[in-house]
Symmetry: C2
Subunit: 522 residues, 2 copies
């Protein structure tokens, strides 16, 4: 009996599907036609089309943060990948597992310098932890299996990195050896006992200390252990400014969040003697400023690492709790409060209050804006939720990440809190939300400006803003009609100008399936 044959594309897609990759976010072109054919033949892999690659990659990031495993993207040569890089940058900073499949010409075609020819590898190196190009049909499935392993850096935990497979069309269309099994994912490295003991001795002194928690140290089990350590030693728990994902709200461990500006970070850490990094980097100023240090840590504060980014932060914190005999102590948790707001016009503060008052159980909140982040503290007293932040500073991430989170968790309400400047970058995500009937409620903070730049310009000491500078921060000429924009892509929407209107629209949207957009005039 003759063996059934399959081409490289089929073997790759089968390998990914068998390895647990269930979603492909696609912007295909001619060089990816055999991959499209393979997707057509592999029902275990869901294919979702976007209108722009920045939506693909941002959605894959949101999906990966919620699922703890990679989605695949399907991108068209160098320019297709380039369009996705900004959100891949954010995904890299979030330590999201993610696999890019980038179509390319066969190697033998490169010398003709056809119009779409460019150096794709060099682009991929900007954000990828693993890249592979020049696969053959016979190696392609194996390369896909390695991409899975590379993207899931270590167990346990949802953290990973970006693997980029640049695939010549001939590797897709020629005959393969069939799918292969993916490799087991190695365990995270454990921190050694000496390091735990050193930190335990520091904390036992009772001097003012902070555990700075990021990435793996934000997993619920890590936060539970950290909370016991706090109860025992009096240390504070603080997350980074922009945690990739943190599950908060009533019942979750109380934890502070580091502010944005370096002078605020310094103020937060004032008097701290020991800063303990757990899965975290030392605080840095988001941008450099002319007369400020880039390292906003008080002079009298020493920094010590309990667990490096790649180490097992849960285990390290549990070891530390044991060393401190912090096993049977009470844990300080956020508690539900009755949240109220006044009638009146919308501004960042009143929008935050309304959002907290309306937040449904199990919501996923995705935001890449200052306005959206302002709602974070109040939401801790509202309802259990997952919060996804802009990790890499590249705006246009919140809407796509919300789209991916909704694909990952169809039963949870998703709330995208977007500045109008950032929303304009990747507004095409609304179309995919409509097409897939995703439960995403988008709130646009329509303040008609790149407001952070007004703030930053003032920080330079400029008090007399000229017409050119003013125009470069102003997106109110013309004003974008976000409701009309949403409707043009099949997403219903409405404008809120008061807190009551916003409340009513939010609750109505959460009660319905499918996407909805609210233009919050502020």
């Amino acid at each position: 009996m003759q063996q059934p044959t399959m081409n490289g594309a089929q073997a790759l897609i089968e390998t990914l599907a068998q390895g647990g990759v269930e979603l492909c976010l696609a912007n295909p072109g001619t060089s990816e036609m055999h991959l499209v054919q393979a997707l057509d033949q592999t029902p275990a892999m869901r294919s979702v089309l976007t209108l722009f690659e920045g939506v693909c990659t941002g959605a894959a990031d949101g999906y990966g943060r919620m699922m703890g495993k990679p989605a695949a993207t399907l991108l068209h040569l160098g320019p297709g990948l380039a369009n996705g890089i900004a959100n891949l940058h954010n995904a890299r900073k979030a330590a999201t597992p993610l696999i890019n499949i980038v179509g390319n010409h066969p190697q033998y075609h490169m010398g003709y310098d056809a119009p779409l020819t460019s150096d794709i590898d060099i682009l991929a190196r900007n954000f990828s932890a693993w890249t592979k190009s020049c696969s053959t049909a016979q190696t392609l499935a194996q390369d896909g299996a390695e991409a899975i392993s590379a993207s899931l850096r270590a167990n346990p935990g949802s953290l990973g990195q970006i693997a980029t497979l640049i695939m010549g069309a001939d590797a897709a269309w020629e005959q393969s050896l069939g799918p292969v099994a993916s490799n087991p994912i190695p365990a995270r490295a454990r921190v050694n006992q000496t390091q735990v003991d050193t930190v335990a001795q520091l904390l036992a002194k009772g001097e003012k200390s902070v555990l700075l928690l990021e990435r793996h140290a934000l997993q619920p089990a890590a936060l539970e252990a950290a909370a016991r350590i706090r109860q025992k030693t009096g240390c504070r728990l603080i997350t980074g400014t922009f945690p990739a994902r943190i599950d908060g709200g009533p019942g979750a461990v109380q934890v502070e969040r580091m502010p944005y500006f370096p002078e605020q970070i310094l103020s937060t850490l004032e008097g701290t003697r020991h800063l303990v990094l757990v899965g975290a980097q030392a605080p840095a100023s988001f941008f450099a400023y002319q007369n400020l240090s880039g390292r906003p840590i008080p002079d009298e504060c020493s920094t010590i690492t309990l667990a490096r980014i790649e180490e097992d932060a849960i285990d390290a914190l549990e070891q530390l709790a044991d060393a401190l005999d912090a096993t049977h102590v009470e844990i300080l948790r956020f508690e539900k409060q009755t949240l109220e707001y006044k009638s009146g016009p919308l501004n960042t503060r009143s929008i935050s209050q309304v959002i907290a008052a309306c937040l449904p159980q199990g919501a996923i909140v995705s935001t890449d804006s200052g306005g959206g982040n302002a709602a974070y503290p109040a939401c801790q007293f509202a309802a259990p939720h997952s919060w996804l932040s802009l990790t890499g500073g590249s705006i246009g991430q919140g809407g796509p990440a919300a789209t991916g989170a909704a694909l990952a968790c169809p039963d949870r309400p998703v709330l995208a809190l977007l500045g109008d400047g950032g929303a304009a970058y990747t507004i095409q995500c609304l179309w995919t939300q409509a097409r897939e009937n995703l439960n995403v409620t988008t709130v646009i903070y329509a303040n008609r400006s790149y407001n952070i730049l007004n703030v930053e310009y003032a920080r330079l000491g400029v008090t007399d803003v000229g017409s050119t500078a003013a125009s470069l921060f102003d997106i109110g000429n013309p004003e974008i009609d976000w409701v009309a924009m949403a409707k043009s892509m099949g997403v219903p929407g409405a404008t809120a100008t008061t807190t009551e209107e916003l409340d009513r629209l939010l609750r109505a949207s959460f009660a319905e399936t499918g996407p909805f957009l609210i233009q919050a005039q502020c």
Copy 2:
């Protein structure tokens, strides 16, 4: 008397303005605040804001093709540059002069690995002919002057390349030595007489020959010389498939255009014995196909280069005409015809006929779609015009390029012919058109699909298209309402379903100032 001082940003912007750079397309962020301040203080440089960097770079490409000199872009670190790369890829393939200024952290801030930190240089290498990073305030103006020289590769002609200046914020804010003068641009290299004589002898044989004309060989003076050579020797004149810019229409030299698919190229060249490259690359298949050669040139056809891309094609063709004594011959030109169309529904063919019938004198046509290109032949008999093509195959270029062309040539009507798939990539260009009241008429070919992919999928021999594949080519679920989309960004618009409606809307738009969008249902 104390010398007046200026910071690096001011010295850079002054240097660019004094060097003839009149336009800055900007998406600034915090690291570019001092550049914004410098723009505020330099009225000779016009600053235009876009909502997305792909619009910046595509507009700079359109501007450069029309002006023969660079615009500057102002981009925000690695992600801001990444968002602009797809259209920089197109600009590179078009040989457009263009200067990117990319803000970055100061070098001393890089080690903190702040969220927006990434390897910007590696991204820039994908498309730049010249890059510079780590300027100091004292070198920044000189680096800007060098960027001008690098972008204008050689005189005469509008061709150039991309220069990318990656600028740490400290170079902008610290004290400079003031602006500097830019360097003279070297003359293009002349081809040597031996090469001209060799080609002359070939052509004189009277065997079937083709002059393949691209880039510098598409300048009007080059086409005039080429037309004399044709008249004398019987050779054919053919442009590449996607000329960056060609000025055509009645009065312009008659010239053929190479088709898209490799089998069509082979058929066009059938029987040709000598293919003479003038500023052109040898024909290549746009994509690789499984059973087709990537080099669609008949076996019996030899290829010879008259002028390489960087050489003076005008001079080479004039030398060749002289060598062939083709100095006083008649030149075959396109002639004006009365163009008609039938009443009826819209399809690619009928839209082409209406566009040709309505084309105003001096129009600039920008297209990145197959539908738009189909209007090219008929327009040659309509009115003198400039035609801008998609040179690098990355869609989402036509609208931004039209925006830049309108900024370059405010007195000429600009017509953007966009597929709906490509338009969705960079639709934010409409907002800049509204803000700057640009004379751009956009026609969206609303066929609700990535139609080229239907064609390409069929070329694989697939006759049974499954639901997943079909969904990945279909953008009709939901249908985008392009008129509502345009209005949401301040651009009026209307839908045409018949040839008469399209005619009426086109003429009305050309008669008015400011942008307009027509959704052509086809």
